[in-house]
């Protein structure tokens, strides 16, 4: 019983839902059970997984980022234009973006503002900048990003390798490193962390900057897959990333997050869309059906956490 800690219970539901969904997809369309098939299934999950990790980092310190979609879109536009034509300028812009995210963390903490409001405001800023940069779809992906995203490692497709790397890196950063503990502590009980002599300001700024970093990676990898960008390319990411975190066992408040779960959540969401297409459900109903899958998984998690609470007593 000691092996099955609360943290692992939390991971069980998303892992099981992903497996069940995957089996269903294989059953409906056996041809997906191949190198190319898997790559196609999970290709678009990579940027979503990165955005989900970014969202998770913000939710870890009791925030919520409503600008994730527009920010990733903006990054995609920068990547498809500046980073391709003037790599130095492009890189500077992207570093500036990460710095702005860090600054947002500082402002939100110092002025005691709700993160939702600040990021909602920022979503219009990012959206506007993206439209200024690319009024019509266009641009081109830098060669090296394209190469990374379309490379074909032996045996396991790139999409899976990338997901595993993302999950492992985020897990190490947040769950295993000693600084990650402080970051989660801020979400759990800010006063305690402060009393222990830590700078909550620094912790929050770090969490936001790290979120900015992962969101930048998300935008770059998205362009690597689509080869060009559009100001509205990733608007869905705001809600997808939040759903991914929750699906993966995270919670809105209290610093309870799971990076591995978040990546699995992102994979599940991507797979759910393919699953519904294979079922030949009309696109009109797909979003509703995706919502239904989400509700079923969350209900399952609730039932299991209740059971876990009973086991604990």
């Amino acid at each position: 019983m000691t092996w099955l800690t609360a943290e692992r219970w939390r991971l069980l539901v998303p892992a099981v839902s992903l497996t069940v969904l995957l089996i269903a997809v294989f059953w409906l369309q056996p041809r997906t059970m191949s190198y190319t098939g898997l790559n196609l299934l999970f290709n678009l999950a990579v940027p979503i997984a990165l955005a989900t990790i970014a969202q998770m980092l913000i939710m870890m310190v009791n925030g919520l980022d409503l600008s994730m979609g527009t920010f990733v879109s903006f990054v995609a536009c920068v990547t498809a234009t500046f980073l391709q034509t003037d790599p130095l300028v492009g890189a500077l812009i992207l570093f500036g973006c990460i710095a702005i995210y860090g600054a947002l963390g500082v402002v939100i903490y110092l002025r005691n503002l709700p993160a939702i409001v600040v990021t909602l405001g920022m979503s219009f800023v990012w959206g506007g900048l993206a439209v200024l940069l690319l009024p019509t779809p266009g641009g081109a992906a830098p060669e090296w990003i394209r190469w990374v995203m379309t490379s074909k490692p032996p045996f396991v497709p790139m999409a899976i390798v990338a997901s595993v790397i993302i999950a492992a890196a985020a897990h190490w950063l947040v769950m295993r490193s000693s600084f990650g503990v402080v970051l989660r502590g801020v979400g759990g009980n800010e006063r305690t962390v402060e009393r222990a002599g830590w700078s909550v300001l620094r912790a929050r700024a770090t969490a936001y900057a790290m979120a900015g970093f992962f969101a930048v990676l998300s935008g770059m990898s998205l362009v690597g897959l689509t080869t060009s960008a559009d100001a509205n390319i990733a608007l869905r990411y705001t809600l997808l990333s939040i759903a991914g975190v929750i699906l993966g066992g995270g919670e809105f408040v209290g610093g309870r997050v799971s990076p591995i779960g978040a990546v699995i959540g992102a994979l599940t969401l991507t797979l759910a869309a393919s699953f519904l297409s294979f079922l030949r459900i009309s696109p009109d109903w797909q979003i509703g059906a995706q919502g239904a899958i989400l509700i079923i998984v969350l209900a399952l998690r609730l039932v299991l956490t209740r059971r876990e609470a009973r086991v604990a007593h």
Binding site: A6, R176, V181
Partner: protein
């Protein structure tokens, strides 16, 4: 041990004053702790103990007065400086991160634990200290704090405070450390405090349980209304003199009635014991004060919650007030922290205060004002946020919330945690008056003198009722005997 002026104190506060708005929380208090000394700090809620502690640990800067650390003036005293000089605090409200494991919480408190293998080091540190203070604690470092009981959290917090990594621990301030612990755990802690002091450490012990202070402290400082009113070696005090110095009156206990089961009609509440042959059924009659005793965490709270759920708490939220509940862990299931005192108080009464679907504000204010007087809730305005009240006064608001209803049964889950003696006596008296009017109180308490207020007592052990004591049989010895029989603990 008296203070030797030649020995420099670990920390000394001289002439400290602090005001919050119009309230003078501390006025010209001088306080010092020597090496190898345990100072007991007692006083009513609102006497200024918490303010003094917050000045000692650097959270508050006094308006006037000086702080000397190891004889050196500390100009820029802060939380960080206090920690660096080896001062640790265990606060009355539990202050761990509930989402982190025990090990990870240790890491938060010890910035020195880092690098590769930090998890192993932190786990070893906390385990060693838990084993040392509370042998047989049964806490696993990998458990998240949210999974632990209140007593276990308190144990972890205490062990964290006493464990040392990069800075030596010189002074530990314990604010009501035993309030969530049962008597055997409390005894383990007090014994450890004596060992720690004998090895040259210093402790400031704040407790409402005066016998703890009298047996554990070397010197006792009594506070009242923001001032030190008495100070001297512990041997010079007794419970009576301490209470006298604090200014509260020990009222004679009302004669306990021998309650005749079923005398006033059938039971108002009952619950069959589950499965086990040894266990007894739970039955409560009209107009009695029924105590639930036994060691902490042996199923008393669970029984109360299931009684409440079976009779009242329903997802349809039926408009019946058969049962009222006074929560013990006010931060978790008592207070609405963002609401005013007034709204917290009238929460259960809203159906009675509603006219045409709207709340009658004047009536609400008058009901709340009435209860403020009856419970002597100390606040100058009921519109103040509930968190601006001291802990004991917050608890009084929760009491008022339950007593103000017409519910014939009131369940109480160790509600007097951290409440001063004066308030307790007032509440005991009020309970007795209400019981005489026909109300039934089911009262779980970890403190023996509260259990002894009851007409009838069920003693719990390992989740079951193992003994029933009535009338004159309700004595400390009998309750203890029933709690420990069968080799438990």
């Amino acid at each position: 041990m008296s203070i030797d002026p030649a020995v420099k104190p670990v920390i000394a506060v001289d002439g400290a004053s602090k005001t919050f708005g119009a309230v003078r929380a501390l006025s010209e208090v001088s306080f010092s702790v020597a090496r190898g000394e345990c100072v007991g700090l007692v006083g009513h809620n609102g006497a200024g103990k918490s303010t003094l502690v917050n000045i000692l640990n650097g959270s508050l800067t006094p308006d006037a007065g000086t702080i000397h650390l190891e004889g050196l003036a500390a100009d820029r005293y802060s939380v960080v400086a206090a920690r660096a000089s080896g001062l640790r605090c265990v606060f009355q409200e539990l202050s761990l991160c509930p989402n982190l494991t025990v090990t990870e919480n240790t890491r938060i408190m010890h910035s020195g634990i880092k690098g590769l293998g930090w998890r192993r080091n932190a786990a070893a540190l906390i385990r060693a200290k838990l084993d040392e203070i509370f042998p047989g604690h049964g806490i696993d470092g990998g458990q998240t704090v949210a999974e632990l009981s209140i007593a276990e959290r308190q144990m972890v917090e205490i062990a964290t405070a006493f464990s040392q990594s990069d800075h030596a621990v010189r002074l530990v301030i314990l604010d009501e450390p035993t309030s969530s612990l049962d008597s055997s755990l409390a005894a383990q802690l007090l014994a450890y405090i004596r060992r720690f002091v004998a090895e040259g450490g210093s402790v400031v012990l704040i407790s409402h349980i005066l016998s703890e202070i009298l047996t554990t402290a070397d010197r006792i400082v009594v506070m009242k209304d923001g001032q030190v009113v008495a100070s001297g070696p512990a041997a010079e005090f007794s419970v009576d003199t301490l209470v006298g110095a604090m200014g509260s009156v020990v009222r004679a206990r009302d004669a306990r009635r021998v309650f005749e089961a079923g005398a006033e009609g059938g039971p108002v509440l009952q619950q069959r014991a589950l499965g086990n042959a040894e266990a007894m059924d739970f039955v409560a009659y009209r107009g009695e004060i029924l105590g639930l005793a036994g060691l902490g965490g042996h199923g008393q709270t669970r029984t109360l919650v299931s009684l409440f759920m079976n009779a009242g708490g329903d997802w349809r939220g039926r408009r019946q007030t058969k049962i009222a509940f006074v929560a013990g862990d006010r931060h978790v299931d008592g207070n609405l922290p963002l609401w005013s005192t007034l709204k917290n108080l009238t929460l259960t009464l809203l159906p009675d205060l509603t006219r045409l679907g709207l709340i009658d504000r004047r009536k609400e204010a008058s009901v709340a004002g009435n209860w403020r007087e009856r419970m002597e809730i100390r606040t100058n305005d009921l519109g103040n946020p509930i968190l601006s009240l001291s802990g004991g006064n917050q608890q009084k608001v929760l009491f008022a919330r339950a007593l103000a209803t017409t519910a014939p049964v009131v369940l109480m889950d160790d509600p007097m945690r951290g409440v001063d003696i004066g308030t307790k006596q007032e509440v005991y008296h009020m309970l007795r008056v209400e019981a005489d009017k026909g109300r039934t109180f089911v009262w779980y308490s970890t403190e023996m003198d509260e259990v002894c207020q009851c007409d009838r007592v069920y003693v719990f052990r390992e989740g079951r009722i193992v003994a029933e004591l009535t009338g004159e049989d309700v004595t400390e010895e009998r309750v203890l005997a029933a709690s420990f029989a069968g080799g438990a603990a």
